[in-house]
Amino acid sequence: MSANPHKRKAYWNEATLSWWERAYLFEILRGLGITGGVFTRNMWRWMTGRKGALTTYYPEETRPDYGRHNRGKHVLTQRPDGRPQCIACNMCATVCPAKVIEIDAAFDPDDPAHPKYPSRFEIDYSRCVFCGLCVEACPEDAIRMVKEVPDFPGADRHGMWLGKEELLGWRPQSDVAKPYPAKPSGDRTRGPA
């Protein structure tokens, strides 16, 4: 119990107001001037056909300045003939924390180098957390994320499953990250090189 329990504690950063600030009105008017000025400036921009906001009108508008490694919507990389690079190893589906990747593997006797391929590859974007672990886990560089589409907005959760066809948006010609081996032709009895 202190000697004077009603004495207010003095703080080191106690606000000190001058009489001008203590009169409220002038400082309030100054504040209203600032906010009103911003309003008039932005309104003038809208009225002269320019954009008066910093907001991006997503998804109709996207930003030009996403980071180089922004983790956005997935794409499956393709071989030169357009088949997916994916070998249906299920590594991405295993590592996925949200369990949104579903893969059905199938057998392709025509390609002895990569006999296993996904007949179905689906991602549920209503649950995807865009962590990028699938990209890290992939041994074949078969799944990547494009930076320009930060996610997959939709009005209906049933429309948010993307299948293999939608995900195969990659144009391997424009990307040199990995050389794509040509599909072997001719002698099909030979084993994998």
């Binding site: 409220y24 009105l25 309030i28 209203l32 906010t35 009103g36 911003v38 309003f39 309104m43 907001t55």
Partner: protein, 382 residues
């Protein structure tokens, strides 16, 4: 007799229509203005789709008000287990009705002469004239304060009957705050009454169409600039809006006295608040901004300083007056929304200290100075 009935029915329909429109549009203005002030776009996703087409009408998010209304009507009407069900059910209406009633004495236009405006009905109406005001009472300003004081009953009823501690705290805060600021509001207006010598709002507006000092329009804001500021601050506090929204401070009291209300009952509280913005705008316009008249304007035309008289046809004056009133009210509403998005909330003790130790003495000083000035001027002129 029938003619009077028709005219006043039209007045009432017009007043209710204007207030409801303001209430709806202000929800949109509040969102959109706040967005533009903070470099955002604002609510813009609600749309009306033209049936059988893919054409979606967005119209800058104007339909968000409609969407809100539909949501509130369709929501579950939650019923708390309260000891006083009747008071609980009646409270939103008690808060909502007086707000509408205040508008009854506010003049929203000049004089209506139906015979001049609608020539085919000239015979039927004869030489009747009607001041554009639902109830032409010589106690106008007193009625405003009487009804304005009643909204507090709605807030208190809601708080008491909700059986919720947050509600009760909110109601107590609302009670003390509204009583304090009503006093300040009344005191600030006293100065105007001293100058105009009347509490009849129609008369007050007419007196403001003159000039003072040879060039300034005799608006209340030029005669009583100090009172105008205090009145506006007290009126915003009376409406319990930011920076004075202590009774419903979300971070402390959830929603204050209407915590336990949902669906359209809660909607009524919100709607009352938005209509009260318009009412405050209308009151301020009437008392301080020359009401329905443009500067230097009277019922017959313009009288510019230096006695340049410009006479206008009656119909034009009529339209200009109606329109001027709406524009002024809208600008005042916009200013209140600017305040709401600019200033942070006061602390509870600060609100009351602000009322009793800052505004109350200032209002008293204002009256004293005004009284002395009026007395001096009268004795000089006499």
């Amino acid at each position: 007799m029938i003619q009077d009935l028709v005219v006043y029915a039209v007045f009432i329909a017009y007043a209710i229509g204007v207030l409801m429109t303001f209430g709806l549009v202000l929800t949109w203005v509040e969102r959109k203005q706040g967005a533009v002030m903070s470099d955002r776009i604002g609510a813009n996703r609600a749309y009306l789709r033209i049936p059988f087409t893919d054409v979606k009408l967005v119209w800058w998010g104007l339909f968000h008000g409609l969407a809100d209304g539909i949501k509130m009507i369709l929501k579950e009407d939650f019923k708390p287990r309260t000891h006083d069900w009747y008071a609980y059910a009646v409270a939103p209406w008690v808060a909502f009705t007086p707000v509408l009633l205040v508008f009854a004495v506010i003049p929203f236009g000049g004089t209506l002469v139906p015979a001049k405006l609608i020539p085919p009905l000239a015979d039927w109406f004869g030489d009747r004239t009607y001041p554009m005001q639902i109830a032409r009472l010589d106690a106008g300003l007193l009625i405003v304060f009487a009804f304005g004081g009643m909204t507090i009953i709605g807030a208190m009823l809601a708080g008491w009957s909700s059986s919720n501690k947050f509600s009760l705290l909110g109601a107590l805060r609302a009670g003390s705050q509204m009583i304090s600021y009503e006093l300040v509001m009344g005191l600030t207006v006293l100065g105007l009454i001293l100058i105009y010598g009347t509490v009849d709002l129609g008369d007050i507006v007419k007196q403001q169409s003159g000039v003072i000092l040879g060039f300034l329009p005799a608006w209340g804001v030029f005669l009583q600039p100090f009172a105008a500021t205090l009145f506006l601050a007290a009126a915003i506090a009376e409406n319990k809006r930011i920076p004075f929204d202590l009774p419903e401070a979300e971070s402390e009291l959830i929603a204050g006295y209407f915590t336990e209300y949902s669906a359209m009952k809660m909607g009524l509280f919100m709607f009352a608040e938005f209509i009260e913005i318009a009412i405050i705008g209308a009151l301020f316009t009437t008392l301080f901004l020359g009401g329905y008249n443009l500067p230097y304007m009277t019922d017959t035309g313009f009288v510019f300083p230096g006695n340049h008289v410009v006479d206008l046809p009656y119909a034009l004056v009529f339209v200009i007056q109606l329109f001027t009133f709406l524009v002024k009210v809208f600008l005042m509403c916009s200013f209140q929304i600017l305040v709401r998005w600019s200033l942070p909330r006061f602390r509870y003790d600060q609100v009351l200290r602000f009322a009793w130790k800052f505004m109350f003495p200032l209002a008293l000083a204002n009256i004293t100075v005004t009284a002395v000035a009026v007395w001096l001027l009268r004795s000089v002129n006499a």
